[in-house]
């Protein structure tokens, strides 16, 4: 017997016009926001856009923004996918500390640097897997599940470093934090490559759509035959992997692993970057490049406040103001207001 099929006539549906990516890119609110912050920085510090070539690499405030923003950008790449599944990962800052501590401790004990780097990445993957297991198998709410490692992770990192700041002089680790490639600082190169690879991975395969589906409706995802738990495991594991990379960069930058301060509060910057990038905390649609852009907006603000001579405390106030503006813009209330505005009468 033949397989049943529905009457399949060719349809008259015309192919949908593709949006023009370049034109829409420059009208995105995130791009406009970044441009605005950069212009303010330029007004405060006229040399802001000056970029010089020196000793085979680029220097300048703009490059500095990219370089300093890279660790959060890398965290945001992993965090985007976690948030797209309607989750959150609070542990990434602590995982950074664990990763840095692992690499530093291993190289100071004579382990070859490549092995130490792989081991640090491996611990990040294990940490992410742990979060994923709590969220899927034990079905704990992500905010609580990852809070466990956020708190315990710093303790773990201190156990690894035995309570001291482990300094090192290993050239590979230092290169990861401070080296350059094709004139660009290594952290920027790593963040760019990771962003491109991650974006290709989720958009060229079905992973992106399936992750969004799980975030929009986990129950319907199960009914539609999606392996929701496996997807969640992968997403949290990847977030841990990203955090480990950031941890290596931060450690390499200061030539040491500081279990107490490495990555401290950066999970919140990463979440903020994702939200600025337009991925809703309610899960669903996500964009990795936009989250990276969000990280750059945050860093541009940080840098702007530093170079303008204000004390760094202002940073927190400005950042919270930005958060409030974003939350208001995303709230249902403002959605209603904006809908009403054009046709507002009476």
């Amino acid at each position: 017997m033949t397989r049943p099929t529905v009457d399949l006539r060719p349809t008259g549906q015309p192919p949908l016009p593709r949006p023009r990516p370049i034109a829409t890119f420059f009208t995105r609110p995130q791009v406009i926001a970044l441009a605005a912050v950069l212009l303010v920085n330029w007004a405060l510090f006229p040399g802001f856009f000056t970029i010089t070539w020196q000793d085979g690499r680029l220097f300048g405030s703009l490059i500095d923004v990219l370089n300093r923003g890279a660790p959060v950008a890398i965290l945001a790449i992993g965090m985007t996918m976690v948030i797209a599944t309607k989750g959150v990962d609070l542990s990434v800052g602590a995982v950074m500390a664990i990763s840095g501590a692992t690499a530093a401790t291993l190289v100071t004990n004579g382990v070859p640097a490549p092995v130490a780097v792989l081991a640090a990445l491996g611990t990040g993957v294990l940490c992410g897997l742990w979060n994923g297991i709590l969220v899927t198998l034990l079905d704990i709410q992500p905010i609580i599940a990852t809070l466990v490692l956020m708190v315990a992770g710093r303790g773990l990192a201190q156990l690894i470093t035995e309570g001291t700041i482990v300094t090192f002089a290993d050239p590979l680790l230092i290169f990861i934090g401070t080296g350059s490639f094709l004139g660009l600082p290594m952290p920027v190169v790593i963040a760019l490559v990771l962003m491109i690879l991650a974006t290709l991975l989720v958009r060229r395969t079905a992973l992106g759509l399936l992750i969004e589906a799980v975030g929009v409706n986990r129950s319907a995802a199960r009914f539609a035959g999606l392996k929701a738990n496996a997807l969640l495991l992968i997403v949290y594991t990847f977030a841990g992997f990203c955090a480990a990379i950031s941890g290596l960069i931060v450690a390499g930058d200061i030539r040491g692993a500081d279990a107490n301060n490495a990555g401290l509060w950066l999970e919140l910057d990463a979440i903020l970057a994702v939200v600025i990038g337009g991925t809703s905390l309610m899960g669903g649609r996500f964009s990795i490049p936009m989250a990276v852009l969000g990280a750059m907006i945050i860093q541009a603000m940080n840098t702007g406040i530093l170079i303008s001579g204000f004390s760094p405390e202002f940073n927190l106030v400005v950042k919270s103001a930005v958060i409030i503006v974003i939350l208001v813009l995303q709230s249902p209330l403002s959605a209603r207001l904006f809908r009403r505005l054009p046709g507002a009468q009476k």
Binding site: R3, V6, T11, E212, N217, G225, L226, G284
Partner: protein, 508 residues
């Protein structure tokens, strides 16, 4: 038997109530009265409008038409709290109290007796003991509410509701999670309240409980009142018939459904069961629709969930085309070529924020795996093909599916399963909550899919609908398949009686 004595003026009266959600008329001119000293049962299948009516009576919803009268005076309830001040109290299936506070605190929350501005704990406890004593409940009122059984919690909730309101008491499926003895205990309490002159509105799915407790019954169907009469004039069969369709207009398809030779067996369930669901055997053939009839709570949806691996089966095995397959989760069911349109479309079916196109291709994509992505052209082609085949009306296929009407959403889910080229399709209430036009289309589609050779398992509480497309009808009662009607034996009375449980085979 004659009519019950003419009752005096009703305590609570609803006249020609209309409630509209979007394009869907949930209630269409429904009259309802509750009299002092009677238990009035409200019956109807899911989507009949029961809960909407209750929410209007208690103030949770405001009607779009009609009026509410309390003791003959029109009232306008803003919210349930406002309803309470008029004497209308509600107890829900899920007890709506604070489980981590004491029984006494729950009884007096918001109106605690105070002494010198402080809560007078001793007096609360004494009053609580006194109050519950009147309900025959001798318990430690200082213990946390959660330490007691649901039955006790229900009685506490009733006591609180009666204290606060005291004219009309709405019991919304209070017995759903109680065992037999607890039900009797609850009923004793309700009978006591009835004797005191309360008007009690009782909602349940258990017909035997209705006959046990209620004096009068109002039956809703598709947002309209089918009947409102004393129970002593009715028997179970009458009630079932009215719930499922007033006259059960059997539009039986004689051609395809005459019980003649069917195609090969496509899917075979052998002894599939789990705790709370009797094991069943069922074979579904190519080009066959097996319809499921039974009241809500009879185990209809549970069977579908077992088949699709939503709930893992504890016993039995499944054969597809004669080959055993393992189905422990929906992903394995989809891999075996099963599709499932769940009863709760919004919760388990659609991805509201995703596009129509993505909603259609998602199951096929899940089946293909993570790395064999359907490219955009394929997606557009697939979505276009099935949208046309099922006549899905959407401005374009890139719009979020949540903007579509219920009927079109249902077709999108159907399209999702047709896209995987299924061997076996399970439809749970495929026509619930969709408008009449789309309703007829879905029924036609089911018939067409059968003619094209698909094996289908369709659950519906609309009896005339089941009969319109089923080759065979399985009747469920008390989580068991109790009867199977085939070809010529598909007759209205047979189905209704099998559902109600005929006198000969009355269950204990």
């Amino acid at each position: 038997m004659t009519d019950a004595p003419v009752l005096e003026a009703p305590v609570l009266e609803a006249k020609a109530i209309v409630k509209v959600f979007g394009q869907h008329r949930a209630l269409d001119g429904v009259d309802f009265t509750a009299h002092a000293g009677e238990v009035h049962a409200l019956l109807g299948e899911n989507g009949a409008g029961k809960s909407t009516l209750i929410k209007i009576l208690t103030g949770a919803y405001q009607p779009d038409g009609g009026e509410l009268l309390l003791d003959g005076q029109p009232i306008h309830l803003r919210d349930p709290l406002h309803g309470q001040t008029y004497g209308i109290g509600t107890v829900y299936q899920e007890v709506n109290l604070l489980p981590n506070r004491s029984v006494a605190e729950n009884l007096f929350l918001g109106r605690q007796p105070t002494r010198f501005g402080l809560v007078d704990r001793k007096r609360i406890d004494a009053q609580a003991r006194d109050l519950l004593g009147r309900y025959g409940l001798e318990i430690d009122v200082r213990a946390e509410l959660s330490e007691y059984s649901v039955a006790v919690q229900q009685i506490v909730a009733i006591a609180r509701a009666v204290e606060l309101s005291g004219k009309v008491l709405v019991l919304d499926e209070p017995t759903a999670s109680l065992d037999r003895n607890e039900v009797q205990r609850l009923f004793d309490v309700v009978r006591g309240l009835k004797a005191k002159g309360l008007a009690i509105i009782f909602i349940t799915h258990f017909l035997d409980q209705v006959f046990d407790l209620a004096d009068r019954v109002t039956i809703l169907r598709n947002g309209r009142k089918v009947a409102s009469q004393p129970l002593n004039t009715l028997n179970t069969t009458d009630v079932v018939r009215m719930m499922l369709g007033k006259d059960v207009a059997f539009d039986h398809h004689p051609t395809a459904l005459a019980g003649g030779p069917k195609g090969a067996v496509r899917v075979q369930f052998q002894g599939i069961g789990r705790k709370g669901m009797a094991p069943f055997n069922l074979a579904v053939h190519e080009g066959e629709v097996v319809g499921v009839a039974g009241l809500l709570g009879s185990g209809r949806t549970e069977v579908a969930r077992l088949m699709f691996g939503v709930d893992g089966a504890e016993t039995g095995q499944v054969l597809v085309d004669g080959q055993p397959v393992t189905i422990r989760n929906p992903a394995q069911a989809v891999a075996a070529g099963f599709g499932f349109c769940p009863e709760d479309r919004k919760l388990d079916g659609i991805f509201g924020d995703l596009s129509v196109r993505e909603n259609i291709i998602i199951a096929l994509q899940a089946k293909l795996g993570w790395f064999k992505a359907l490219n955009r052209e394929d997606q557009v082609e697939l979505a276009g093909r099935y949208a046309e085949a099922l006549d899905i009306r959407a401005a374009n296929h890139d719009m979020p599916v949540k903007l579509l009407s219920g009927g079109n959403q249902q077709k999108v889910i159907l399209a999702r399963w047709l896209a995987i080229d299924p061997t076996f399709l399970i439809l749970d209430e495929p026509t619930r909550g969709i408008d009449v036009g789309a309703h007829a289309e879905i029924v036609r589609t089911i018939n067409r899919l059968r003619e094209e050779g698909l094996a289908l398992f369709v659950i519906s509480s609309e009896l005339d609908e089941v009969v319109a497309y089923s080759n065979r009808i399985v009747v469920m009662r008390d989580r068991e398949m109790v009867a199977e009607l085939d070809g010529d034996t598909i007759a209205p009375d047979a189905i209704v009686q099998a559902i109600a449980g005929t006198p000969e085979e009355a269950h204990p």
